[in-house]
């Protein structure tokens, strides 16, 4: 018998966290991630675990800090403007080397924006706090992957003792798909961290504390940087589709990749050599894999639901080796994949000047 079940993105993330052994969840309502918080409210208390609807996102992430410093798997989730409120503590957790999972269900911006699905959280997810730090950002494109990456996020957070972000969007959060969950981990079965604050009975006191001198903080930063380099080398994740012989490679992350995938299949049926490259980790960016994927391409087309945040990374990593086109929508509007397909055909016909005209038709503009 199949154990697959129809699950909404928000609930899949919540259930995956519970199964990963999340002992404490803290959240504050914000659309489009409310079902995640509500799922936790429904289940955590019954399981003898902790759920608090806090008075703010700031308290939620700082309570995550607390449960993490006490040695438990812990999570918060939020969206859009409220993610900005969490950045101070995400940076501080990175400083204090505390694991923790933060789910960002991207919505419209800037500022309060709106409640609709966008990808405007791309830049902020990589680190909106002060100082030199990095966080692994995992960006799923399906409900199944959202569940899988949530479980992985707990492992990576612990492995590197650093916060980890799951970067979803409103579309994924509200989407229902047939999925299968991973095994259930009992929080009590997880080994106790040697850094956890448990009371110093029978051992030396533990201090999760700042480095106050210049020398100490520099040494600490160097150690953190070495760790981030190791993460950057070992944790890149991506998916490539038909990139081996692709003349144009579409680069896209998260839910818009689902439409792009369809376009690639259709193009191939028509004999058009289109490929797709999807970063699954936004940080660390799979730069070498991208360069490999575009080896035979004559152009890259980046699709995103923002004004070109991923495009900037793609341009940076491809260093002008080939033209990088951007096509995006904002505010909760969706990319019209037929428009994209006709633009790509312009490029393949060697007539990319038509691109600009097409942009104008849609009221879009080209970045840079």
């Amino acid at each position: 018998m199949s154990t697959k079940q129809f699950t909404k993105g928000n609930e899949a993330i919540a259930e995956a966290a519970i199964r990963a052994g999340c002992m404490a969840y803290y959240g504050y309502p914000i659309t489009p991630q409310n079902e995640l918080t509500e799922y936790m409210a429904k289940h955590m208390q019954r399981l003898g675990r902790v759920f608090i609807q806090t008075e703010s996102e700031i308290t939620a992430i700082n309570a995550v800090f607390g449960s993490s410093v006490a040695g438990f798997r812990t999570m918060t989730s939020s969206a859009g403007t409220a993610m900005a409120l969490k950045q101070e503590c995400i940076s501080h957790m990175s400083y204090m080397e505390l694991p923790g999972v933060i789910v960002d269900v991207m919505r419209g911006g800037p500022g309060l924006g709106n409640i609709l699905s966008t990808q405007g959280g791309y830049n902020q997810s990589k680190g909106g706090g002060n100082g030199d730090y990095n966080v692994i950002v995992l960006a799923p494109n399906s409900v199944q992957e959202a569940a899988d990456l949530t479980a992985l996020a707990f492992d990576l957070a612990e492995k590197y003792r650093n916060p980890t972000i799951v970067l979803a969007d409103g579309t994924l959060a509200q989407m229902i798909e047939l999925i299968e969950f991973g095994p259930e981990i009992d929080p009590a079965s997880l080994p106790e961290s040697e850094e956890a604050l448990t009371g110093c009975h029978g051992r030396e006191p533990r201090k999760v504390a700042p480095k106050n001198s210049a020398m100490d903080l520099e040494a600490h930063n160097i150690r953190l940087q070495r760790k981030f380099h190791k993460m950057a080398d070992s944790e890149q994740r991506w998916e490539s589709l038909h990139t081996d012989d692709a003349e144009v490679v579409v680069v896209v992350f998260g839910t818009p990749s689902r439409m792009a995938c369809e376009m690639v299949y259709e193009a191939r049926e028509q004999g058009i050599k289109l490929g797709l490259f999807r970063p699954i980790t936004i940080w660390p960016f799979p730069a070498n894999a991208l360069l490999e994927a575009v080896k035979s391409a004559k152009a890259i087309v980046v699709l995103e639901h923002n004004t070109g945040m991923l495009t900037r990374d793609v341009r940076f990593f491809t260093q002008g080796k080939l033209p990088v086109y951007y096509h995006g929508r904002m505010g909760g509007c969706f990319i019209d994949i037929d428009e994209v397909f006709s633009k790509i055909k312009c490029i393949l016909n060697g007539n990319d000047s038509e691109w600009g005209a097409l942009n104008e038709q849609q009221g879009l503009w080209k970045t840079f």
Partner: protein
């Protein structure tokens, strides 16, 4: 045969206190350490520091300590206590920390009735950043950001956190004490102990506000700073138990 009647509490390590002469933080630390010793809870206690002068207690105590962001100690303590309910968890906070940037966190931790103990060291100023006006700064008191003295119309009025928090149903115990005389120091210690016992008895949120001198921030020598507590501070911040249930 001689026996030791006074010494360094074993909850403190050997590190030297680096506070200014006459600073109240050192006295409060000592009372806290003596209480941990007497209650024999040193090994079962997790402290949450704050951002301010007294924060150095994380480094001075022989207990586990977490260092939160400015104002967020009650949120961090909540996160610790909820997953380790068998441990004693306390926050130690200043008036800038608790009554300004962290007002939301303290009000809601208290309102939820988190089974925590908070020590609120009110010195009427931002000691660490150089003596700026705090929400607790008295009318007429001078500071680097109200150079002619706090003006009620221009700067707003000081806030009485103990009275305010006592209104919350989740709170079991709030007392304001001070450390200007030996008698008051003894009273303060009793209050500190009671706030810990409440947590052991799972009674909910307890807070002890300690009126404490900051001679540097106030612009007094230590002796005058202590006299100032009696003459100027206590008339506004009256001592007493605001809630005990």
């Amino acid at each position: 045969m001689s026996s030791k009647v006074y010494g360094r509490p074993s909850s403190l390590n050997d590190k030297v206190f680096t506070y200014c002469p006459g600073c109240g933080h050192g006295i409060v630390h000592r009372l806290l350490a003596e209480t941990l010793d007497e209650m024999e809870i040193t090994g079962d206690t997790i402290g949450v520091a704050y951002v301010g002068c007294g924060a150095m207690l994380y480094d001075l105590f022989n207990i586990d300590f977490a260092f939160p962001l400015h104002g967020r100690a009650p949120a961090v303590a909540t996160g610790i206590k909820r997953v380790r309910p068998e441990k004693i968890v306390f926050t130690y906070q200043g008036d800038g920390d608790l009554a300004a940037i962290g007002t939301t966190e303290i009000v809601h931790a208290a309102s939820r009735g988190e089974n925590l103990t908070t020590f609120f060291v009110n010195n009427g100023t931002y000691g660490m950043t150089g003596g700026q006006m705090a929400p607790t700064t008295l009318i007429g008191q001078k500071s680097s950001t109200c150079v002619d003295g706090r003006d009620a119309d221009y700067h707003g009025r000081p806030i009485r956190m103990s009275e305010m928090l006592a209104q919350l149903d989740g709170v079991c115990y709030v007392e304001r004490v001070t450390i200007d005389t030996p008698k008051h120091i003894n009273d303060a210690k009793n209050a500190i102990k009671k706030a810990f016992v409440n947590q052991q008895e799972k009674k909910g949120f307890s807070m002890v506000e300690i009126i404490s001198p900051c001679p540097i921030g106030w612009g007094y020598n230590p002796v005058d700073a202590y006299a100032h507590i009696k003459e100027e501070v206590l008339p506004f911040y009256s001592l007493g138990v605001f809630k005990d249930r």
